[in-house]
């Protein structure tokens, strides 16, 4: 707080300042204790506060938002291609197809054309 050295001291202002300073010393005990409690409460809030918690909260929120967007996009894609995925799954799980793929001699015989010629 800067002194107002550029101005003439006003007698009323000087007296008012002196009296107001005096009145501060005259506060009753109940008020002084209430002010002390308020101060301790405020200081404890500050000391309990950690700056990294702010960052952690922000990072957690951003991660959740990113996860939500990813899941939403994945669901949108899977809705378009769901029938293809199901067909692939069916093909892979079919026991018939599995037996055919294992019988390589049969494929060779078909390729040679022996089945048609005789």
């Amino acid at each position: 707080m800067n002194k107002r050295s550029d101005e003439q001291p006003d007698p009323l202002a000087t007296a008012a300042k002196r009296l107001l300073d005096h009145s501060v010393q005259e506060l009753d005990r109940k008020t002084v204790l209430a002010l002390q409690r308020a101060r301790v409460n405020a200081v404890s809030r500050f000391s309990a506060r950690r700056p990294w918690l702010q960052w952690a909260g922000g990072v957690a929120l951003a991660s959740m938002a990113a996860l939500a967007v990813t899941m939403w996009l994945w669901q949108a894609n899977s809705a378009n291609h769901s029938h293809l995925l199901l067909e692939d799954l069916e093909l892979m799980q079919s026991p018939e197809n599995l037996e055919l793929s294992e019988d390589l001699d049969f494929y060779d015989w078909l390729a040679d054309g022996t089945a048609t010629t005789g």
Binding site: M1, R4, L12, K17, L20, S23, A34, Q36, P51
Partner: protein, 205 residues
């Protein structure tokens, strides 16, 4: 505060804060406590003069302390005074606006029947021209007169007077705390001094 200068880290503590950071935080906590201890009574008197109610004044000061601790305590200590007054005066203005709305509603429902009951608060103070028994009583009487005269001022004049005269803030700081221009601060202070001279008289205190 921004960097960790000590190589020693305290493992097992919340956030694994390094020793330097913890010591810095403790210093700042102590500095904040000292600052608030030095300002709390004057802040209370300011809020009390503005509201005329001890409980309201305590609430306003507590709010201002909390806001400073939570939002601005990491700013340089030299800024705390101006920031605290900025918060407190803002809280007082908010209180004043709410109170005005309440008063208008009260008047609306009560009507104009009680208008004549209003008394000049200065008349409630004993006549100060009578000789005082001692200096202490005279001082208390002068203080009471000043308080009544200050409470009768419009809020902006009251703020300008208390911040400029009592807190000895410069015009720019006062303007920032009051949320107005520097020219307005000068005008409010000039009018406040005029009114106080008229109300308190030449022989005060």
């Amino acid at each position: 505060m921004s960097g960790c200068h000590s190589p020693i880290a305290v493992q097992g503590q919340p956030g694994h804060l390094c020793l330097g950071e913890r010591v810095g935080s403790l210093d700042r906590t102590q500095a904040l406590d000292r600052f608030l201890a030095g300002i709390e009574r004057r802040a209370f008197r300011m809020a009390h003069i503005a509201t005329g109610n001890e409980d309201e004044a305590l609430d306003l000061v507590q709010d201002a302390m909390l806001k400073l601790a939570q939002k601005y305590a990491r700013r340089p200590e030299e800024e705390w005074g101006a920031l605290f007054h900025c918060i407190l005066q803002s809280r007082i203005r908010d209180w004043y606006r709410r109170e005005r709305v309440r008063n208008r509603l009260r008047e609306f429902f009560r009507g104009a029947q009680d208008d004549e009951e209003g008394e000049d608060p200065l008349e409630q103070i004993p006549d100060s021209t009578t000789p005082a028994p001692d200096g202490e009583v005279q001082c208390k009487r002068a203080c009471a007169e000043l308080e009544v005269a200050l409470r009768a001022l419009p809020l902006r004049q009251q703020q300008a007077f208390l911040l400029r005269i009592w807190e000895e803030m410069d015009v720019a700081q006062t303007a920032h705390a009051m949320g107005c221009s520097q020219g307005s601060v000068k005008t409010h202070l000039f009018r406040a001094l005029q009114v106080l001279r008229q109300r308190l008289g030449e022989h005060w205190p």
